[in-house]
């Protein structure tokens, strides 16, 4: 993997921006080149230890997803068992209990598409609004939202549950989707990003041309915000895909479970009286749960890493 990944998805547009943002683009590679000679084997060796720590559990998961339940108990944890049962395990994961895993997967996708997608849209709109407009109450909005980042989300879970239960929303997808729509951190990231990514001169000229604010936003600003949007979207997707506490509280009916809650219920049934232990399915299901996110992160890393760098300017 190249260490000199192109860092920006949008080009600088004015002389001022060019001089400011070409730093990482132009000067860095030069610095890199001069340093290449001085790569340190000692430093690399130390980070390899960290790499082993990071990847070992994932390797363990992948290796053990190839084992039957019996093989899990009989074989060494970091080596393959005699029979390779990965495909059998995958088939069993999808067919166990009338194929409820598929249902959980679809639920998760629904929560992610509507929840994380909606959260990203709302955060982009609002971050842009805070960055580019002056309006009455702006300071209050900003202070409240930033203050909310420090409010422990789970502290709100119980009252949110009680409120939603009075509104008849518990045990429905809305109970997961609506709270997922708000991402104060996403708003913060979009605000810092939009402040610098969209030059006010361009907005001015669009106004002079008589374009409406929303038209300007969708046609002109959105493309410039793309790296920031991808970053916020990925973080929201992870948050929604990995959500556990909220569904645990809100959902009783396993038909609405997301993957996290479903996997935990499979694991927990081993310790209940008369429950069937399906450790091989828990392990294979876990692997299937993390693969999509890891693939998304790897494929989109150019975009979200540049978005993160830009967002951290005011970190």
């Amino acid at each position: 993997m190249a260490t000199t990944t192109p860092r920006v998805g949008h080009k600088p547009r004015t002389a001022r921006h060019a001089s400011a943002s070409s730093g990482p683009l132009v000067v860095r590679p030069a610095r890199r080149a001069s340093r290449r000679k001085r790569r340190s084997a000692t430093l690399t060796a130390l980070t390899v230890i960290m790499l082993v720590y990071t990847l070992l559990p994932l390797a363990w998961l992948a290796i053990n997803a190839t084992k039957t339940q019996k093989g899990l108990f009989d074989s060494f944890g970091l080596w393959l068992d005699g029979d390779f049962a990965l495909f059998g395990n995958i088939a069993d994961t999808f067919s166990y209990n009338d194929g409820i895993f598929t249902r959980w997967l679809l639920n998760t996708v629904l929560y992610v598409v509507v929840g994380a997608g909606g959260a990203t849209f709302l955060a982009t709109l609002a971050g842009y609004g805070l960055a580019k407009f002056d309006f009455p109450g702006k300071k209050a909005v900003f202070a409240t939202v930033i203050g909310a980042v420090a409010v422990p989300g789970t502290a709100l879970a119980v009252p949110t549950f009680l409120m939603f239960s009075e509104m008849g929303l518990t045990n429905t997808p809305w109970a997961i989707i609506i709270p997922s729509l708000v991402s104060p951190f996403g708003l913060y990231l979009m605000w810092t990003f939009a402040t610098d990514a969209v030059p006010k001169e361009i907005l001015e000229s669009a106004r002079v041309d008589g374009a409406g604010e929303f038209r300007t936003f969708f046609r002109i600003s959105m493309p410039m915000l793309a790296p920031g949007i991808v970053t916020v979207l990925l973080f929201n997707v992870v948050a929604t895909w990995n959500n556990y506490f909220l569904p645990l509280i809100m959902l009783k009916d396993p038909d609405w479970y997301p993957l996290t809650l479903g996997l935990n219920s499979w694991n927990a049934q081993a310790s209940t009286v008369g429950g069937e232990a399906v450790f091989n399915l828990v392990i294979t299901g876990s692997l299937l749960t993390i693969v999509p996110l890891i693939v998304a992160f790897l494929l989109l890393q150019r975009y979200w890493q540049s978005g993160l760098s830009a967002g951290s300017v005011k970190g």
Binding site: L43, T144, A150, T154, A155, V158, L261
Partner: protein
């Protein structure tokens, strides 16, 4: 994209005449604020309301003023849960952030082989759901088909069970560190990326060594990102729930129903039906978290100036 060190550039954020003050901005901010009010502000208000009442077997629900709060302050189970996350916070967070800082500096130094691969690999656990991470580590900790069991068998030794009551908190600390060290590293690394390289060159020309550069340029540049990472870690520690909740089925004896304040609030509501008291516990924890997060933020900002 304007890098922070370009202080000579007139701040793009400074309000200018071109930004007309009007209500147009509300059309952009409004939808967010509406949902925010529903899922943040309303529950906060509702939980404050709830915390002022109590449901008794005889007499139904009655207004009790600050009684619930007095009860929390004298509640041994709450304080034992609080003490546990405080210990966790004092030990796990510094270890994790120091590791993240060292890794970010190592990658930024340009002296690593395969830095790009390393950066993305260490970050990957962040994409692993807490439930999956806990199940995975929980199995690996296990003495039945876990690695600890394997090692014991292979070497004929008896390592202590990571899921025993006195080790389980450290085992959870390891899971959390594994999940978030790469995330924090990336936040810090991103902050390092926006430092103007000309500063390093100037420093090198002045004869500054690497350590001096780290001390005089990189650490000050990281202060804001570090204080944000610290605040998120504090909030995360006080909210600890997923890991102990999932581990409970693997280690039922080591994890009590009041292992962390959040687990306690959850058990009160959903096993005990004590909703009012549970809301009070949540508020007290929320206030403590905000005070500590705020104090850290002030410290971080004061150092910055």
């Amino acid at each position: 994209m304007v890098a922070a060190p370009q202080a000579g550039v007139p701040g793009a954020r400074r309000p200018s005449a071109s930004r007309r003050r009007s209500w147009v901005g509300w059309r952009f901010v409004g939808p967010f604020v509406a949902v925010f009010a529903l899922v943040f502000l309303a529950p906060i208000g509702y939980s404050i309301y709830l915390s002022l009442f109590r449901t008794q077997l005889i007499g139904g629900t009655a207004f009790v003023g600050a009684d619930n709060y007095t009860e929390v302050l004298g509640d041994a189970q709450f304080w034992s849960a609080f003490g546990r996350v405080a210990v966790f916070l004092a030990v796990q967070v510094p270890i994790m952030l120091l590791l993240a800082l060292l890794l970010a500096l190592a990658i930024d130094s340009g002296r690593l082989y395969g830095a790009g691969f390393f950066r993305i690999s260490v970050f990957l656990p962040y994409a692993v759901p807490a439930v999956v991470a806990t199940l995975m580590w929980g199995f690996m900790y296990g003495t039945r088909f876990g690695l600890v069991g394997n090692i014991n068998e292979a070497f004929g030794i008896s390592l202590r069970d990571p899921l025993s009551p006195d080790l389980v908190l450290a085992s959870i600390g390891n899971i959390v560190t594994w999940q978030f060290v790469g995330y924090n590293m990336l936040i810090l690394y991103s902050a390092l990326r926006v430092v103007d390289p000309a500063l390093y060159e100037a420093a090198e020309m002045d004869g500054a060594g690497q350590l001096r550069i780290i001390w005089a340029i990189k650490l000050p540049a990281l202060r804001g990102a570090l204080s944000i990472a610290t605040i998120f870690s504090i909030i995360g520690s006080f909210q600890l729930f997923n890991e102990p909740s999932v581990l409970k089925s693997l280690a039922p004896n080591a994890i009590t129903s009041y292992f962390t304040p959040n687990l306690y609030a959850y058990s009160l509501s959903f096993a005990g039906q004590k909703f009012n008291y549970s809301a009070t516990v949540a508020i007290v924890m929320g206030v403590i978290t905000m005070i500590i997060a705020y104090a850290v933020q002030l410290r971080g900002l004061r150092k910055e100036s």
